[in-house]
């Protein structure tokens, strides 16, 4: 029982309470985990975790990741996978910097280039996966290779943007009224966010609305849940999948520009492993790779949880980078197992079925 197809039965049997859908349940777990984790961190480590700026820096540093992850959520709900996000992000940063520096470009032009690159990748990957039915993993893997390779063709050395208009945009900060912290000298420093964060939050809201209340969004869940049923219901499966990849590409392009606004440099090593972090955010947020289940709000909290655990590991004195990736691995493991148990219990109604097949078979024979 994937997705929330129980609303109809809920209406017919008025007395019975409508069960929570898988999407909402998994999302609720993630949200609770994040708040619980942050609360514990505030109590145990205090210090930085009590500082609102550190919380906002989670957004400042990872706005691009959030944008890529939003695109990926749509693709994953439709039952596919897109691992080209990090590559496109890095390519966009490099191309935009080179355009701004060497070709006398304008800020508007560079933004258009970013959108164009994203759209082009989304278009090609969408056609190849949706209409030619090639495995999305291979197509987007090739997309990632292509993007990473193109960066060094554009420029081998890392470049830094020094375009005036762009720098003004890059250094723009939005001050949040009323929130802030007291510096060492006792003066009040208001908390600030970067413009990229506004973009990221706007995209999260837009994607959430699209997924919840538009025909395209509902089609995505239908296609991901069961593409054959979706086809018999008259949904254009291929077009739905195509648009999922197209939007994912476009959002990766926007993510690239936000990354550039954050760092101001084009480098082949930019956004390294961003695709895997985006996938991890989605998984922690309760989006299933099998499709049909997921929510972009969950992705937001998945990303926040992923980054908060890293902060906690650093705060507890394990500053070496390998501790961070090991804890990330453990956290993923925990969430994956939790989801597996919960979904299995909800589908089949008992824990017993989680046992290996041979154990289960033995029991069935005995009874």
């Amino acid at each position: 029982m994937k997705g929330n197809n129980s609303s109809l039965t809920g209406r017919i049997l008025k007395r019975r309470r409508e069960p929570v859908s898988n999407t909402n349940l998994l999302m609720a777990i993630t949200v609770c985990t994040f708040f619980g984790m942050y609360l514990v961190a505030m109590i145990v480590w205090g210090g930085g975790f009590l500082n609102p700026q550190q919380f906002l820096d989670l957004f400042n540093n990872n706005a691009y990741l959030l944008i890529i992850a939003c695109g990926l959520t749509m693709v994953m709900i439709s039952g596919g996978i897109d691992i080209s996000g990090g590559g496109i992000t890095a390519l966009v940063t490099m191309v935009c910097v080179v355009y701004l520096e060497d070709h006398g470009g304008t800020v508007m032009g560079s933004l258009l280039i970013a959108l164009g690159i994203g759209l082009a990748f989304g278009l090609v990957q969408g056609i190849l996966t949706a209409y030619l039915e090639i495995q999305p993993f291979i197509v987007t893997l090739a997309g990632m290779f292509f993007a990473r390779g193109m960066i060094t063709i554009v420029s081998i050395a890392p470049r830094t943007a020094s375009h005036e208009g762009f720098l003004r945009l890059k250094q723009a900060r939005i001050t949040l009224p009323g929130i802030g912290y007291y510096g060492k000298t006792g003066n009040f420093i208001p908390a600030q966010i970067e413009p990229g964060v506004i973009v990221a939050i706007a995209i999260v809201i837009v994607v959430a609305v699209v997924l919840k209340w538009t025909r395209f969004g509902r089609n995505l869940y239908a296609v991901g849940g069961n593409s054959h049923s979706a086809l018999t219901l008259g949904i254009n499966v291929k077009r739905t999948k195509f648009f999922a990849y197209l939007f994912a590409g476009l959002l990766s392009g926007i993510g690239g520009y936000v990354y550039l606004l954050h760092t101001g440099a084009g480098d082949a090593a930019n956004a390294a492993q961003a695709e895997m972090q985006a996938i991890a955010s989605n998984i922690i947020g309760g989006t299933l790779l099998t499709g049909g289940v997921g929510n972009v709000i969950g992705t937001l909290f998945g990303m926040l949880s992923l980054k908060t655990i890293t902060n906690i590991v650093i705060a507890s004195g394990l500053t070496k980078p390998y501790y961070q990736s090991i804890t990330t691995g453990f956290m993923l493991c925990f969430f994956i197992l939790l989801q597996s148990v919960i979904l299995s219990v909800r589908e089949k109604g008992s824990f017993r079925l989680l046992l290996p097949e041979w154990l289960k078979f033995g029991k069935a024979n005995n009874s």
Binding site: L128, F145, G149, T152, I153, I283, T328
Partner: protein
């Protein structure tokens, strides 16, 4: 003739062999001497084979060995193991940490290899349990080790990147004195023969494909999908450990960050090019191995064309997309359709002639 075309269109080996042929022809046209093999004397004073063909066969051996395990996993689990390179780094680290503590002799070398195999198999079984028992998508389940694996490798050697140099290791990674063929090629061939024999004389291959095609049917027919999947992961673990050890021997040091970097992507590509559907089911072991050689041949060709090493990825991606598009069932059907149309037109022309 018509049935032959249909057979060719359905066969899994056509596209990989065709693309390999294309790369070879391209190279021969570009430079007639590209595949010439010469015998040179290496710095130990033994005659060894040298040339682009040898470097293709030699360079691809690690990816080819790993692609054997990946093919089995892909076939029965309907997904890919993306942690192979990270697990290979762990296996390599274990291998080095055993070798560093003792004087290197042949028994110690074998013991170190077996020990790294054991560790690698244990990690593979961890993946396998997540996939088979907990029914988690392979890509998600192996994402755990993908993100944590290299850190575990770092921890095994205490964060150092030790070098090891010994004539014995040089023999495994390079040439055995007196034999002109690089040892990795020999190991690869032995591995392929062993796996082929196992598949030939046991029902493993059949069971793997059955589980991949329909798990429920397999279960009803008395095949235990959990065991079949775990066996695939164990075999993959051994393959991965071998690939890791060979690579360590070849470069003579263990660097947990760069050992077989991005190899998991190459391995999955090799499987896909080889004609095994990434959604599971029928598999083709020789296709996967051919796929690994195609990727390496492509890389060597691009290097020979003076393409900068970092930019090779872009060209590789373009060629891979072309190969995958050509081998997709939709395009295949389209080509067969076009061919039939042309063929029938000729018949139509012939018929009036006969009637007259």
């Amino acid at each position: 003739m018509d049935s032959l075309i249909k057979k060719l269109a359905r066969s899994q080996l056509v596209i990989p062999l065709f693309s390999l042929l294309l790369i070879i022809v391209f190279n021969l046209v570009r430079d007639v001497g590209f595949f010439s093999i010469s015998i040179v004397t290496n710095n130990q004073g033994y005659p060894v084979l040298s040339g682009n063909l040898i470097s293709i066969l030699n360079g691809a051996s690690a990816v080819a060995i790993m692609s054997i395990g990946m093919t089995l996993i892909t076939s029965c689990c309907k997904g890919q193991d993306i942690s192979v390179a990270a697990v290979a780094a762990i296996a390599g680290s274990v291998f080095v940490s055993v070798l560093r503590s003792r004087e290197i002799t042949i028994p110690v070398l074998i013991a170190a290899f077996l020990y790294s195999c054991l560790v690698s198999v244990l990690f593979s079984i961890f993946n396998g349990i997540l996939v088979a028992v907990f029914r988690i998508q392979p890509m998600i389940a192996t994402l755990i080790l993908f993100s944590a694996g290299r850190s575990i490798a770092y921890w095994i050697n205490g964060g150092a990147t030790p070098t090891i140099s010994n004539p014995l290791l040089a023999a495994v990674g390079g040439f055995i004195p007196g034999i002109p063929i690089p040892t990795p090629i020999i190991i690869m061939v032995i591995f392929l023969i062993l796996i082929s024999l196992v598949l030939k004389f046991t029902t493993l291959g059949l069971f793997t494909q059955v589980v991949g095609i329909n798990e429920g049917t397999a279960h009803l027919n008395g095949i235990n999908p959990v065991v079949v999947k775990l066996v695939a992961f164990v075999i993959s673990g051994i393959c991965v450990a071998t690939a890791g050890c060979i690579t360590v021997c070849r470069i003579g040091l263990i660097n947990h960050e760069t050992l077989l970097l991005d190899a998991e992507m190459d391995v999955i590509l090799a499987v896909a090019i080889g004609g095994t559907a990434l959604s599971g089911g029928r598999f083709n072991l020789y296709g996967s191995v051919t796929g690994a050689y195609i990727i390496q041949a492509l890389t060597v060709t691009l290097y020979a064309m003076k393409v900068p090493s970092a930019a090779v990825k872009a060209y590789k991606a373009a060629v891979i997309i072309i190969i995958v598009v050509l081998s997709s069932p939709k395009v295949k059907d389209f080509i067969v359709h076009i061919y039939k149309k042309l063929f029938k037109k000729q018949e139509n022309i012939k018929i009036p002639v006969k009637a007259a």
